[in-house]
Structures are given as C-alpha cells and as structure tokens.
Amino acid sequence: MNELRQDFPAYDTADGAFHFLDNAATSQICRPALEALVEFETNDRANVKRGVYARAERATNAFASARKAAAFFINAPSPDEVIFTSGATLGLNTAAHILQHHLESGEVILVSELEHHSNLVPWQLAAERRGAKVRAIPVTDDGRLDLDKLDDLADRVKIVAVTHTSNVTGAVTDVARLRSFCDATGALLVLDGAQRAPHGPLDVQALGCDMYAFSGHKAFGPTGIGVLWGRYDLLDSSPPFLGGGEMIRRVSIERSTFAPPPHRYEAGTPPIGGAIALAAALEWSMSQDWAALGAQERDLTEKMLNGLSDMCGCRLYGPTGTQQRVGVVSFELEDVHAHDVCQLMDSDHGVMLRGGHHCAQPLMDRFDTVATVRASLAPYSDQADVDALLNGLEAVRRKLA
C-alpha cells in the first residue's frame, strides 16, 4: 500500500475496493488541510479585517498567512498579487474581466482546442463585450497544443489563454515557447493551472506568465477555494469584478472608490476557512519529495498506458509516452459508452472514473468522439489501483462489448 495514504483521511476507513481514479475532477483532502479547517472553524472562527477582539485578530492573521503560503507555493513576487477565489473557474472569469480592458475591437484572444470550458467561455464572453475575436491553437493527434502553428495565428493577438496541463490528455504545455510567442507579439499570457497545481509547487516567475489560476479541491485542499495570481500592474489596471463589502475604500450613495488589489477582487466575506485549509494543503505539497512522486506517477502512468494499449478495442487519446504529461489518461472501449463503463467499474470493481466530455467539447469534436473514460492519478495512487482498473475494464468489456 502507498504509505502516503496515512496523510489522507479518506483512506482511514476505506477497504480494498476503494480505487479513486477521478483525481483530475477532485482529489481527496489531505489531513493537514482538514485539521486546519476544523481548527479554524472551532477555535478561531470570526470575520476578518473587522473585529478588534482577539479571536477576530487570530482569524485575520491566519487569513493573511494563508495568502503568504499561496504566494510561496507559486513563487509570486508578493502576496498582494494573490486573489482568493472560489476556484479556477472564478479565477479565469476574473482574469477575463481584468484583461478585457486591454482589448481593442478586432483584437484576438488566442485559446486552444484543448481548453476546459472554464478557460474558453469566459474569454468568449469578454470578446463579445469588447468586439474582439477568439481564435484557437489546434491540437495534435496525440493531444498536445500544436505550437508549430503559432506563427500562423499571430495576427492581432492580445491575450493568450491556455491550459498549463490538459484535463483530458494530461499533456503539459510547453510554456517557454508560448512565452517567446508573447514576447514577439506583445500578448499577455494567462495559464489555467487547475491540473498542474496538484503536481507540486510552481514558479510563475520562471514560467513568465502574466496571470495564473488554480483550484484548491484538485490540489488536496477543500472545495470552494482557489487562487488567481496576476502581475500587480495588471490587477491594478481594472475596476472590480464584483461589488460588495471588503473591496471598497469609500462608499457614498452616488459612487465608490475601491481598495487596491487583491482586496478589490474579493468582495464580501472571503472563504476564510477554505483559504486557511488550502494553505495547509499547499504546505503539505511543498513538504513532499516531488522527484520521487513524479517517478511514481510516470511508472503508474506507463503501466496504465501499456495495459490499455494491449486491451482489445481500446482507443487511447493523448500522448503515448510518459514525458511532459501527468497521470491523466483518456480512452474509449469500442462499442461501450463511457458512462456505462464508469457505472460498472464503480459498482462491480470499486474503481471511480470519470466519463463524458470532461467540459472539453471542442476537444471531443477534434477527436471526433462524444465522450471518453478518464482515469487520473494522485500521489496516493498505487499499483493495486491500476490493476483494478485494467482487470475491471476487461470484465466490463466482456460483459457489454
């Protein structure tokens, strides 16, 4: 058994038939995050930036520390560049709201066919508001961004908004190449890091992006919390996205002036417990040996890929190798619908998978399919999970194909 499971309360009571392979949708919460959440809600729960009593001071300090931990996790130059959101979706919507003020009519937002709808629809809405256009980087047959086509797409590009890691194919984006493209064209670079954040600490400065969003619940934290990082000058260049308490400087009936970033973008009482618990999850992540975890993930990914390739009537989507990818593998069984596979894999084999379009319908169109089955690994995954997956799929295929 994978020893790391001691850090995950979901495994405390799980029996052998608990094979959670839907980590790309939501990971399990790590023990330090859950304990931090209970500790805050029990002993320090009070609103932040308001109360003068000691309990409120503790809440305010813990919330500020959480912001510092998040900044540290992504190597942001300053915690003031870290906005707490409800997740990557709100983060990307906020990014689109902020950057739309840099768009002129007729200019282009460059997305890709690989995007989750969360990093596509907000840009479509922004383009509509500004009279701009959305253009997409195509995807190669093995499920990667086709960056060789970049030069053909360069005309009037003002924003490049793409995934750092695909939630369907597991491909990790060559950000350096996109950075060069943005340097040459003067475009701003936004990365959707929802699938990258669960794979260890990040360095937004080394990546050279201008904004970066991720979710807590995929990175061993609680649900309802996420992070949007942005260069301070960009965050300071836009009016607020949502209005309310905590984001103002002075309010009269006629008008308001707004707080500086990040508070300008955090209207209302923030998810305080969520932020504190996320910080604990990110600190847990930073304490791990990611070289070893990466090797373990590549090993299990290779076993999955080999087993699926050998399976009769199984079609794989995405990269066939283990380099520049994470342990997210999509496939289809011939003549068996993805949801039928997932239902039986759960009820008969205790394997939890995701079936469907994965909120990536343009990519399904690109692959000329409707729905795939997806298995996705986490640091607590092990050989028994992969064995259960492959054996279960054989049984499902025999039953339904």
């Binding site: 039928d340 759960d346 469907g356 379009h357 399904m364 339904l400």
Partner: protein, 137 residues
Amino acid sequence: MNDALYDQAIIAEARSKTGAGRLEAPSITAECDNPLCGDRIALDLLVDGGKVADIAHKTRGCLLTQASASLLARHAKDASAADARELRDAVSAFLHGKDDERFAILTPVRNAKSRWDCVTLPFQALSDAISDLEKRS
C-alpha cells in the same frame, strides 16, 4: 445496486434497436442533447391525422439512453399529441416511484439519479417534436 442497471432486460432492450434509423420524409425532426455527457438523439416523426404514424431515432448514447429510445419507439406509435406528453410525464413519474408497466424494465434506474436524464432524453425529444409541429401549423 447499480449493477442491476446492466441486467439482461435493459441490455436486450438497448440491443433491440427498436425504431433505430431515420425516416425518409419525416413530418418533424427533433434533436435533443444531454449536456452532462454530450449524448444526442435525433428523432423523426411521421404524423398523419394527428397521430404518430411512424417513428425513427438516431441515438448516440449509453445503454440506458438506447434502451429508453427503443421503449419510446414501442410506445409512441399511434400516439396523439396528448399521448406523447403523457408519455414524457409518465416516464418522469415512473422514475420518481409511480408504477407503470410500460417502463418496468427501467426500475433499477430509480436508484441511480445521475442517470435519470439518460432515460428521459428520448421522451423529451418526442415532446419537443410535437411542440415544434404544433407551432408550425
């Protein structure tokens, strides 16, 4: 519990592909999507004298959607507009627990709420087709 979803009756109904295909000259065609999974049904109706004279469906979906589309083709033949709406409401009432012989093989689906839309999709397509036809005339 969910294993019963794939019992022989449902699999057989799906495999029967009753009404699968397209009509050459339908009076109306309705397309219906399940946004959860992207499954889709295209339903052709030939309506004559206010009744469904012929029915065909092209269903791209899971076994439950295919079984449901086959059931629909069995029961919608000769249906009036009122019958068609009754069918749609009846399948929904069945899932909520009201007994109905016509849908008996779908009983295991009652325990799998996340799959209810798979079953109602073909019946929604029928109701949409009838409404479109009424709007047109």
